[in-house]
């Protein structure tokens, strides 16, 4: 089925998982849109995005990517189209360049060199200078590894990018500039992003839509500006009030 203009890029339809209690999750987003997923720890945020690139399967419901059930795609192909940055930034042995070339090895394609535009673009977007390419990935700092992790997730040029706490190891200025870049790629290339974050300030600044997830359910969701300005539920009001104080 060809994606028409009205077909959302991603549709989650009544997703329920047996093991980690996600219940009746329905949501959709368009190309070029940035969605933030917020909520208390253990609320199911990671579990939710892990369904979208099929690291796990729901026990009920379905997920459509550009109108197509994701189970119809071979998983490696799906995961090229839906990039994901895991919460823990695992670095393969070798240099940053080796790490960025990894997806090409899996596809048995020619490896892009350090000069390749796509490669330079990815590390640039992740706010890393090209000098990093020759560094040993495992000796980088937590924040640097996190940015390599993001660059690596971008290198397949996905349509949809899932980010699990992409800025948890970054300082405020780096977080802000990275957030800004994410927004720019969304707008200029039509990339859709779903970002799990504890950073409410970041969520508020860059996301178009926000999902508030608690105990495996969507308690509230909608346009970010509205959701932050007029939270409907008591839970969300409390949640929005507390962490901001901790951060200050």
């Amino acid at each position: 089925m060809a994606p028409s203009l009205s077909t959302p890029l991603l549709q989650l339809q009544q997703l329920t998982t047996a093991r980690n209690f996600l219940t009746d999750i329905t949501w959709s987003c368009q190309a070029g849109e940035l969605t933030a997923v917020i909520g208390p720890s253990g609320g199911g945020k990671s579990s939710l995005i892990r369904l979208i690139n099929r690291l796990e399967d729901p026990s009920d419901g379905q997920i459509l990517l550009a109108g197509q059930d994701i189970r119809e795609l071979p998983p490696p192909l799906l995961r090229q189209r839906v990039g994901m940055m895991l919460q823990k930034a695992f670095m393969f042995e070798g240099t940053v360049l080796d790490n960025l070339q990894q997806p090409f090895r899996y596809r048995k394609e020619a490896l892009p060199g350090a000069e390749h535009p796509n490669l330079l673009r990815s590390i640039g977007l992740a706010r890393l200078s090209p000098d990093y390419l020759q560094r040993d990935a495992r000796t980088l700092s937590g924040g640097e590894q996190q940015r390599v992790n993001l660059a690596r997730a971008l290198i397949n040029r996905p349509e949809l990018l899932l980010l699990d706490e992409p800025t948890s190891a970054l300082d405020r200025p780096t977080t802000d500039s990275l957030g800004q870049t994410l927004l720019e790629i969304c707008r200029s290339e039509g990339l859709a992003v779903i970002m799990v974050t504890h950073d409410l300030r970041l969520a508020r600044r860059i996301s178009d839509q926000t999902i508030y997830l608690e105990a495996g359910r969507i308690v509230e969701a909608g346009k970010t500006a509205e959701l932050f300005a007029r939270p409907q539920s008591e839970d969300l009001r409390t949640f929005l009030a507390e962490p901001e104080e901790q951060e200050a």
Binding site: R54, R71, P76, Q80, F90, F92, Q102, Y106, A153
Partner: protein
């Protein structure tokens, strides 16, 4: 078979030999290690088990029925599986099925190749050759096989984040598991390589020693030893390869997802 040079061991002589055990036990008693009874018990088990095997082999050698020989080979495989299963704490999914089939194909295949092409005796089921050769090949492959299985389990556990990262980047289950498989295969092969390198210098192999003692010319015994070492190496290589080839699959679903293993 020239039995002429073979020095017979009579019962009295065996009793002298057993006196060495009693000597060891009294030394242990002197140092009060508190294991004297176990030592005695173990020595008695050894004697009884070996005598039982001796009688069984004698029976099998006189009956010479292919069915019986096959049955004995299967029993040997079963025992080796049981030993490996009890020695390994964390077993991979489908442990017994995978280990059993790998040993049957790996050890079995090499044993028959060795018996038919290298030694080349007839009939193929002659228990005098088939049983000791198969025993040697299975016995020496068990270590490599359990190392492969053990290492696969621990690698899959330790590399959880790596596996998931690889899957996220578009790897198939096979590609994601590749580094773990490589490490496990290396671990399985290293002891055999070490044994090969040390043979003749550090240790005189039991089979060769036995042949020489029973009157075989040293050069012929050495040739046999070389041949059997080759067979053991191949058997370890094939068995471990098959274990890993089947074993990693159990950690993934059909959709290249990591399965939650307990």
């Amino acid at each position: 078979m020239s039995d002429k040079t073979l020095l017979h061991l009579n019962l009295i002589q065996l009793v002298y030999a057993y006196a060495l055990i009693l000597l060891s036990v009294s030394l242990a008693r002197f140092r009060q290690i508190g294991q004297e009874r176990q030592m005695l018990w173990a020595s008695i088990r050894m004697v009884v088990q070996l005598l039982a095997v001796g009688y069984l082999l004698q029976l099998v050698f006189t009956v010479r029925s292919p069915l019986m020989v096959i049955l004995i080979l299967l029993t040997m495989t079963g025992f080796s599986l049981q030993v490996m299963g009890s020695r390994i704490k964390r077993r991979m999914p489908h442990f017994y099925r995978i280990m059993g089939s790998s040993i049957m194909i790996g050890c079995g295949g090499v044993t028959f190749y060795f018996c038919l092409l290298v030694v080349g005796y007839t009939p193929w089921y002659d228990p005098r050759y088939l049983i000791p050769l198969a025993g040697m090949i299975i016995g020496n492959s068990m270590n490599g096989a359990s190392l492969a299985a053990e290492r696969l389990t621990s690698e899959m556990r330790e590399r959880h984040d790596e596996l998931e990262t690889a899957l996220c980047l578009g790897a198939t289950a096979r590609q994601a598991a590749e580094p773990a498989l490589r490490t496990a295969y290396r671990a399985a092969l290293i002891p055999t390589m070490n044994t090969m390198a040390a043979t003749g210098i550090v240790a005189l192999p039991g089979m060769m020693t036995g042949q020489i003692l029973s009157g075989t010319e040293p050069m012929l015994a050495v040739r046999y030893q070389i041949a059997i070492m080759c067979a053991i190496t191949a058997s370890v290589a094939i068995t471990a390869f098959l274990i890993l080839l089947q074993g990693y699959r159990g950690y993934f679903t059909q959709a290249d997802q990591l399965r939650n293993t307990p």
